[in-house]
């Protein structure tokens, strides 16, 4: 009788609370079974996850455990917090602590669990996960982490479906609305000349940018640094190397080359290396500024142009992750 009501309530509460929190990554709904002494109870939960740091994400949620099959019914509804270590796909480790209010007497039970899960991302917004955990439930909140003879303990298996919510949770930029027009060599040279580079550096920057533009449409290839495919830093290394400037191979090191320039569009010159933090705080993506607010980069969609200021979804996505500028030409 309680089940549909509580499940619905939990979903509404979690979905409703999500936009209030910064760093919303997504909501996960799951169904699980917890086996204790040969009988199982059904666990329904709704959890909101946000990335904490690196591979660690933090979840806060509601659960409802239907224990009506058990001889002593401890059906309860409560909340829990959990930590996951691992990516959205593949294996991850998990742990949680929670408190539930028993429907029979209104008293609180506390529980903890540790386990592991496996996730797959079906589309950019949908994630499926399976988890196995060992769960211990204590009839008192005080000292619940201690194993006591009257604790209920057993394995819990659960299946979940996760949805990402809102712009900030997107793992990849939305498809560009329409392709941007690449600037001509003359336009690049003019922009370079008016952005503080001397004539010779402006000519060199123009040549580097033209080389990168000539690679437009080349597919993305992890570790690629040639015309068959580029990764982000490979494209920039290739464009510069063609004109004699040797840059480090990986974006993290490219982000330390040359000198820092103000992170404002007005301060940029063609040829500047734009750095992005796509996941976590470290630089994980680089692009080459071509002028007019645009940069060329090799992303999962291949070598293409994106804008820092056009205001479309792609542009906003990259702008939000733009962390720095390096000028590598002296």
């Amino acid at each position: 009788m309680h089940r549909p009501f509580f499940t619905t309530l939990c979903v509404i509460l979690v979905l409703g609370a999500s936009p209030l929190a910064a760093q919303v990554r997504g909501v996960e709904l799951s169904y699980g079974r917890w086996w204790v002494d040969g009988a199982y109870s059904s666990v329904y939960s709704a959890t909101r996850f946000a990335r904490l740091v690196g591979p660690v994400s933090f979840g806060i949620g509601f659960f409802h455990r239907d224990d009506s099959r058990s001889s002593f019914d401890r059906t309860q509804t409560g909340g829990d917090v959990s930590l996951r270590v691992g990516g959205a796909t593949g294996l991850y480790a998990l742990s949680s602590v929670g408190i539930g209010i028993k429907h029979t007497d209104g008293n609180a039970d506390a529980s903890w669990s540790v386990g592991a899960g496996y996730g797959i991302v079906l589309f950019s917004h949908l994630r499926l996960g399976a988890e196995a955990r060992y769960r211990v439930e204590d009839q008192n909140v005080k000292g619940f982490w201690q194993l006591r003879p009257d604790d209920r303990r057993g394995f819990q298996l659960q299946l979940g479906v996760g949805f990402t919510l809102g712009q900030s949770s997107r793992a990849a930029p939305p498809a560009a609305e329409e392709p941007l027009a690449a600037p001509t060599a003359d336009e690049i040279r003019e922009t370079a000349g008016s952005s503080g580079l001397d004539v010779e550096a402006a000519a060199l920057a123009t040549n580097v940018v033209e080389t990168a533009l000539a690679a437009m449409g080349t597919p993305y290839q992890w570790g690629g640094s040639g015309e068959n495919g580029f990764d982000c830093s490979g494209l920039i290394q290739y464009a510069y190397e063609k004109h004699g400037i040797i840059l480090p191979r990986v974006s993290r090191d490219q982000a330390r080359s040359g000198i820092a320039v103000d992170k404002s569009i007005g301060a940029l010159a063609p040829g500047d290396v734009l750095t992005f933090a796509v996941s976590g705080n470290g630089v994980s993506h680089v692009g080459l500024y071509v002028g007019d607010g645009m940069f060329i980069h090799s992303s999962s969609q291949g070598v293409r142009l994106s804008s820092l200021e056009s205001g479309d979804g792609d542009s906003r996505w990259w702008r939000a992750r733009w962390v720095g500028v390096r000028r590598v030409l002296n």
Binding site: V199, H243, G244
Partner: protein, 100 residues
């Protein structure tokens, strides 16, 4: 210096005036084709192509290598500032009695 691949007599006279520089035949901008034309377009400065590049005109890959080497030494990331690098270039030129 005005010269063409065919104007060797005048060029030799000019060289005699300059001293003992070797003579290398070169292709002027308006006669360049293919790869050379591309490189001329790429490397043209405010006053066209520098003579030091034109001497590679019979061998465009050599011209490209020259410019890459130059950019690498003078324009790439380095512990030396741009001014320090130019200063070294001037000091070496003076020591070698290079008119440049």
């Amino acid at each position: 210096m005005v010269a063409s691949p065919l104007g060797w007599g005048a060029a030799r006279a000019e060289l005699a005036r300059l001293g003992s520089l070797p003579w290398i035949s070169w292709i002027p901008e308006d006669e360049a084709e293919g790869r050379l034309a591309e490189l001329y377009a790429r490397y043209a400065g405010e006053n066209g192509i520098d003579h030091i590049l034109k001497i590679h005109s019979l061998n465009p890959p050599s011209m490209e290598g020259h410019m890459r080497h130059y950019a690498h030494l003078m324009r790439g990331p380095s512990g030396l500032s741009r001014a320090e690098r130019e200063m070294i270039a001037v000091a070496v030129s003076v020591e070698n009695k290079c008119r440049y």
